[in-house]
Amino acid sequence: MTQPTTAKTLLAQSLGLAEDSIDAQTTLSNSPQWDSLAHFRLILGIEEQLGRKLNTMETVSVTSLDTVIALIATD
């Protein structure tokens, strides 16, 4: 799976949405489904995908689809 697809899948699963409803406009501040529990699931999902814990600055960077793609790409 490519990085954007992986990120989209992770985000969709965490937010409980269909993958095709996730796009670049899906952010922490404008998506009603992106609540604290969804955020928790997303962080754990990213850590599982990377096989390591996120560091401090990585944790706060997770605010949109683009940032999830970037995080997965860095590894």
């Binding site: 501040s29 609540d35 401090t56 944790t59």
Partner: protein, 199 residues
């Protein structure tokens, strides 16, 4: 040399007002009330850990000392009272220092209210109220890096990350050192952003 007692400042009449939100009443507490409303979590290791206390549980006597002296001037404990059940579900604490920085903390001890947006509703109302005071310049929050839900809550409200501390707190449960993050929101920015949001 003349020795004298430091005169205690009286409660701030504006800052101690009751704050109403859609679902909650936020009532400023005196010392005894603060001890009472925080008693449900004085020996809850999970909550104490998230607030970076140095022990995993406290005796009642230790806890009373730990609460300090909420004076309605520099130290505030608000009971979060749910209007529908007329009961206290949590506590909001603020410490206002001389330079106008307010240090924030919140505990929702009634776990059935977790995930119901209590943080956003309470914190927004508190910041709306406190940001109107000329004594308040800046809001500040410190959160453990592993406390993902709190980090989310600060980010969702629009707080900026201003830095982090490495290995600043030693967990009394795991004996491991943990990192924390610092969040900030200037009162003037909050007022401007809220005005923009409401118009």
């Amino acid at each position: 040399m003349v020795l004298g007692f430091k005169k205690k400042k009286p409660p701030d009449p504006y800052l101690t007002q009751v704050i109403n939100t859609e679902r909650f009443r936020l009532v400023n507490c005196n010392r005894l009330q603060a001890i009472q409303i925080t008693m449900p979590w004085h020996n809850d290791p999970e909550i104490l850990g998230n607030l970076m206390y140095s022990k995993a549980k406290y005796s009642r006597r230790e806890w009373a000392r730990k609460i300090g002296k909420p004076d309605g001037n520099k130290r505030f404990y608000h009971a979060i009272i749910a209007k529908d059940i007329k009961g206290t579900i949590g506590t909001h604490r603020l410490i206002l220092d001389k330079s106008g920085t307010v240090r924030l903390a919140i505990v929702i001890h009634a776990k059935e209210w977790w995930g119901k947006d209590v943080f956003a509703e309470v914190r927004t109302a508190i910041m709306d109220h406190f940001s109107q005071s000329p004594r308040v310049v800046r809001f500040h929050g410190q959160v453990l890096t592993r406390n993902i839900r709190s980090i989310y809550n600060y980010q969702k409200l629009g707080f900026r990350v201003i830095g982090y501390d490495r290995k600043v707190w030693k967990s009394p449960i795991t004996d491991e050192y943990e990192d924390t993050m610092h969040f900030e929101y200037l009162a003037e920015d909050w007022r401007a952003d809220r005005t923009e949001h409401l118009t």
